[in-house]
Symmetry: C2
Subunit: 531 residues, 2 copies
Amino acid sequence: MTLHGKHLIAGWTNGEATEGFRAWDPVQSAGLDPVFFEATPADIDAAAEAAEAAFDAYAATEPAHRADFLERISSEIEGLGETLVKRASRETGLPEGRIRGERGRTVYQLRLFAAVVREGSWVDARIDRAAPDRTPLPKPDLRRMYVPLGPVAVFGASNFPLAYSVAGGDTASALAAGCPVICKAHPAHPGTSELVAHAILRAAEAEKMPDGVFSLVHGQGYEVGLALVRHPLVQAVGFTGSLQGGRALFDAAAARPVPIPVYAEMGSVNPVFILPSALENGAEALAEKLAGSILLGVGQFCTNPGLVFGVGGEAMETFLQALGEHIRRAEPASMLHRGIRDRFCAGADRLAAAQGVERVAASEREADAARTEGGGALFRTDVQAFLANDMLSEEVFGPSSLVVVARDTAELERVAHSLKGQLTAAIHGNGEDIARYDGLVRVLRRKAGRFIFNGFPTGVEVCPSMHHGGPYPATTDVRTGAVGDTAMQRFVRPAAWQDFPSSALPPELRDRNERGILRLVDGKYSTGDVG
Amino acid sequence: MTLHGKHLIAGWTNGEATEGFRAWDPVQSAGLDPVFFEATPADIDAAAEAAEAAFDAYAATEPAHRADFLERISSEIEGLGETLVKRASRETGLPEGRIRGERGRTVYQLRLFAAVVREGSWVDARIDRAAPDRTPLPKPDLRRMYVPLGPVAVFGASNFPLAYSVAGGDTASALAAGCPVICKAHPAHPGTSELVAHAILRAAEAEKMPDGVFSLVHGQGYEVGLALVRHPLVQAVGFTGSLQGGRALFDAAAARPVPIPVYAEMGSVNPVFILPSALENGAEALAEKLAGSILLGVGQFCTNPGLVFGVGGEAMETFLQALGEHIRRAEPASMLHRGIRDRFCAGADRLAAAQGVERVAASEREADAARTEGGGALFRTDVQAFLANDMLSEEVFGPSSLVVVARDTAELERVAHSLKGQLTAAIHGNGEDIARYDGLVRVLRRKAGRFIFNGFPTGVEVCPSMHHGGPYPATTDVRTGAVGDTAMQRFVRPAAWQDFPSSALPPELRDRNERGILRLVDGKYSTGDVG
């Protein structure tokens, strides 16, 4: 399969400009063919107009048909086989095994949303029948369900080239909800993006979905993304990336004449609080597991534990020594791209130079810049220094962590108050600690979307009970999450029909419950017919 | 009961400043005692800090206890009896009968939310049990539910001095969700606000709710409201009012270092499309009913039908004549306050002076400015003039409507495309029309939150199927509605717990389902225990 580097807008390829960019192999430090074209305002317009033109027809597709489409995307992605694995691995420096695992998650997500759509109850259908004889006023017939918002712009994430990129969670949930998608490919893996976009378009063709249900545009700078978010036909935005990038999109969306929701999943330092009981009962085992979480995937996860808090003393020193030993032994490995490596090195250097911060350990083997490598790094400080310097609580994206040593548990609670919003917070201790340190527990619960006991933040299970989100700056919308079936709710709005004849209603709201979905009828849940 | 005009912050009264304002009786054109104090930044701080201090304890109240509190607020409001009715009527010019009706709706809403909280399933509890033996990685135990956001700022609406004011839908849904409320009283009915705030505080005291669960502050200008929205401890905002006011609050919230959601329900012109079949079958009966909707409550509803569209011809002329007759016979009546009357008169004058617009009818008896009266007004124009002048599609808050006469139904569809977001859209015709004018139907469905067949937009039923919301500029958040049980979802966020012992979880997520709520356990709905 030869990549062409062009945009894929409503099924047709576009992009004759000579301005463009190449993907980069971070391991070989080499550019990759072909040249990818920077989208012009006319390209953005064409993609948005195609998405709008597709909207009515796509929103009206039968659930089973839409589910077939999602499942077909899954099998088309699987059909890309090793071509996809090799290209994604080359563009990201991620091992092929990791790419295969991520592909598994990507197709699982698509099939999960397909199952939710096929079952159908997610639309939260509600029916309140008329009471024409009610006094003083008759009661109208009212019916309500979720309907799709309209065209959605999705921004691929660099650290999940499949699961949070072109056919990742945002695209899957938007398509499942009935919204056409315009995806802005991440410039770090444009070839992977093109391959997956072709898979989606083949599925759209096979399932006879309207043109414009999916488009892919390329772009290196902020301009293409901002133009997409500002486009009047775009109704919502899904983004995974940096705080700076996410906030810029959020601000642009809020400043529109008609503001739209932006679901940006951004940075998080995922604090891990280790209570004295946990340090005393197996500091070394804890250090080993924590090191695994810090180093996993060269630390390139939004759930990477960047801050660790505990009380000083002998057990803490044992723990730090063991943790440092794991970090020292960690092999440096290629990071996703040079920008990420540069920011990681700069962040680690800033930490090393900060007042009151000491570098405890670093990978023994030096990281090879020519292979875009990042090595493990471990730092320590105390609460006073930590509270005096905001920079110390900022995310350093990569295999680095800062251990903040408190004098006592009261200081732990105090420092917890200072934390910003997080995707996760973890606490290690025994069963009695939860009651004993109730103040700390309550503070952490306020700060994070997911609260973990005796575990580590990396590893985001895809299941109904997962919540992957959190207070700002972890995300721009604390009310939603990007993982699991509820992610679809980001791309819908409620709509009510009053006194319409049953035949003119969406099938989900007709008297006859032909889809057998769960509906709230006159205040009671039912899967039966009305009448 | 003597009003004191002071703020009510965490149960204590405050406000010794000499700067203040009085309520105004629009019927008598007279100021009313006492002087109400303009909140200072220190007052806002105190209210926000009290709300934050109350949050943990209030969020942790048992559902039955919180429901008792909401029900107690209802009975305390009823206990205010005629004192409340008379003060509200004097401050708003609304007839006492209307105030009594609105009081009925207010206490009904509070009891509805109490019932939802008492039943408890609204938290959407989800449990996925651990699978420690799963390969390649063990599956953790994950549990998820909605938790309250934190302190909520509520802005009372001038046109619903009870149902969308101090103890109205926003306050009731926020308190039901577990969020403390800081209410900014509308300066047009500060005495009504103080009375209702006392009722809430008496209920809080009787139910031993934490201080700070509710505060009331007064203010005439935008400053107090903006300070509240910008306060770092405030986590969400509910507002009903003008587009200008709502957008200012939205912009302030979006510009915060930590942005927060703003649920502003703003203007709407609630277009009514009358298809030829409806005009031909009873133009006069239709005119009578539409006139009733236009004139209801001196047109002071956000669901007032401000735009009517139909095809020209003999039936249209009959309709216009009959509608004009009803408007001419309409008695002018006192509007809520001078600002609203001034804006209504200016809006009607602008319409009358606009190119291509003709005044068809106005109340025969002249409106009495000394009694703050507004009279009915009816205008007509054609599609060309309508599309040429954006001003014609703006809301004129009051008993006025503009009939846009199209040449044919194709023009109706074209003009429908030009409309902004609306709370409601109505269509009048017969059963076959819905299929015949599918294009028009689809456009209107995109534009509005509630879509009405052969009915009128005024009259918002409080029931699970109601959706009172819509695309911008009807609201700042198309994803939510302000009426019915789902309004609570505006003030919560999902939170997940991973691997916590059952005893350390919120009761809703423990193995034993002691509250008997509906939960999604391992992908299946159940009201039983886990394990």
